[in-house]
Chain length 307, copies 2
């Protein structure tokens, strides 16, 4: 059992337009017998005669008419398939699903989305905000195209690229502004407010203070940096926040900021994707946009950071 081919439909369509085997063959850049054979094959496959051949002219049969209408639709749809690909190849286009950790998302996204939209307007950006572990799992599952997380991730299936580094700054109540900045060891004497389990930023803060193990939850873990800063403002304790969060989070709470002396705590934010992802080239471009966004944020808010 042979099958209809697009070639046959193309030749058929040409023949309907020219009503003449020789001229239709020319239009298809093939010899007249090649066209004759393909039309014959098509008719035999279908079991129906499509053309009435007379010495004078080649005419569609009634069935041929109906057939031609549908065939044209199909050829058009196939051409559109090619057009679609040609567009997708040149411009960056289509859905892009980005995952971002919660300690980055609120500060980076406004700028980033604006820039992405400006640079690649064909892009349909979807944002997913959750913790690293979930992002990685969704990435590996193919439910995300890339994720912005703290490095290192060291997951075998993923490729990563660094985006920017940022320090953590100490947040104390406004009254403590003049007190000396504690050393990491000194931190252990203070009431340190942390994010809930699962946030990588919590682990980084804990690790900086050289706590032996994860602290038992005391029921005061905050669900966001914003919450932590509000708590600090209320005099409940101290906390760390990444530089990027400073402009937003310290605006509305009576807190003071301080840099650590010596070996400052900090983190590297990077982008990860599946090593097998065909989007890799595009994602490298996206990474550049993220770097520019981070740079912009840093320069815009330089003056708000402690010196």
């Amino acid at each position: 059992m042979i099958n209809i081919t697009l070639k046959q439909l193309r030749y058929f369509e040409a023949l309907t337009r020219h009503g003449h085997f020789g001229r239709a063959a020319d239009a298809c850049s093939i010899s007249q017998p090649a066209l004759s054979v393909q039309i014959k094959d098509l008719e035999e496959n279908l079991g129906v005669v499509l053309f009435e051949r007379s010495a004078r002219q080649v005419r569609l049969t009634g069935f041929g008419q109906d057939f031609a209408d549908r065939a044209r639709d199909i050829l058009r749809a196939v051409d559109e398939l090619g057009d679609l690909a040609r567009l997708a190849k040149d411009r960056m286009v289509g859905r892009l699903r980005i995952g971002v950790i919660p300690t980055v998302a609120p500060y980076l996204l406004p700028t980033l989305i604006q820039r992405l939209h400006k640079a690649h307007s064909g892009l349909d950006v979807h944002i997913r905000e959750t913790m690293t572990q979930k992002l990685i799992s969704e990435l590996l599952d193919g439910r995300l195209d890339t994720a912005i997380v703290a490095l290192p991730v060291s997951e075998p299936g993923l490729a990563e690229t660094a985006l920017f580094d940022e320090k953590f700054v100490l947040v104390r109540s406004a009254q403590e502004a003049a007190a000396p900045v504690p050393s990491p060891e000194g931190m252990r004497e203070m009431k340190l407010l942390l994010l809930e389990e699962g946030h990588c930023f919590r682990d980084q803060a804990v690790s900086f203070c050289n706590f032996r193990s994860t602290l038992p939850s005391d029921g005061l873990d905050g669900s966001s940096l914003s919450t932590l800063v509000q708590m600090v403002g209320a005099g409940i304790g101290v906390t760390l926040i990444p530089e990027m969060a400073v402009p937003v989070e310290t605006r509305s709470a009576p807190v003071s900021l301080a840099r650590f002396k010596g070996d400052e705590p900090g983190r590297t934010i990077g982008m990860v994707w599946r090593k097998t992802s065909p989007l890799a080239p595009q994602l490298m471009e996206i990474a550049d946009v993220v770097r520019l966004s981070a740079e912009q944020l840093r320069t815009e808010n330089q003056h708000l950071l402690p010196s």
Copy 2:
């Protein structure tokens, strides 16, 4: 520049369904490398990667998703093309354009159309009623599929088959019913009412009476048999009508009917079509339906005819 093929779309579609080259290849009854190559060709033709291959699984890219939706539509349309042909091949189906001369149409068509509809309900019958000359020309132009006319036609490009013979009967006013039936020569003494120029039935009537040439129009030519019979009823003259017209035309006029003695005038009605028409087999079947219709009319109306 190579082209997308339906084969590639079929393989592609199978791969989207199975997400596994080996199983998709099985489903297509080909080897795995054959499928690999075709998918690769497709991707190269498009210039876009459709699948993300990892050790674990084969997943569609975002573009691949869009592509798959359209590809499926195309494959469905092509299959429907095949279905359409399969239907058209078995049953008699589609448009059928029949031309019929005016001295047959009103009497034959009611029965014929009913029978056609019963025998081939898929048939979309179009009727064109006009004089032989126009019918033949439209037939040759491809604007009709077949025509029912008086034979012979003897047009080189047309095939013909006889359908039925019928005699012409004399129509006189009711008062003349008892008068002897005239011979053809005797007809010349009478006021013979004829159809307009162009009707083959006019020529046949004239020829029966052995008139030398076409008579000069006296402004009384009728545009239909119905008109002629009405005129006879009004006492203006006599006329001939084919047997088939008797039941309809003599119902409402005070006329009498008579058969001619000896060599009765008559005609053969037949069907013609282009020798090149692929519908020829179907048309032979249609011709059978016409014969049955004529037979039915004859038996139904036997009692109305003069003996």
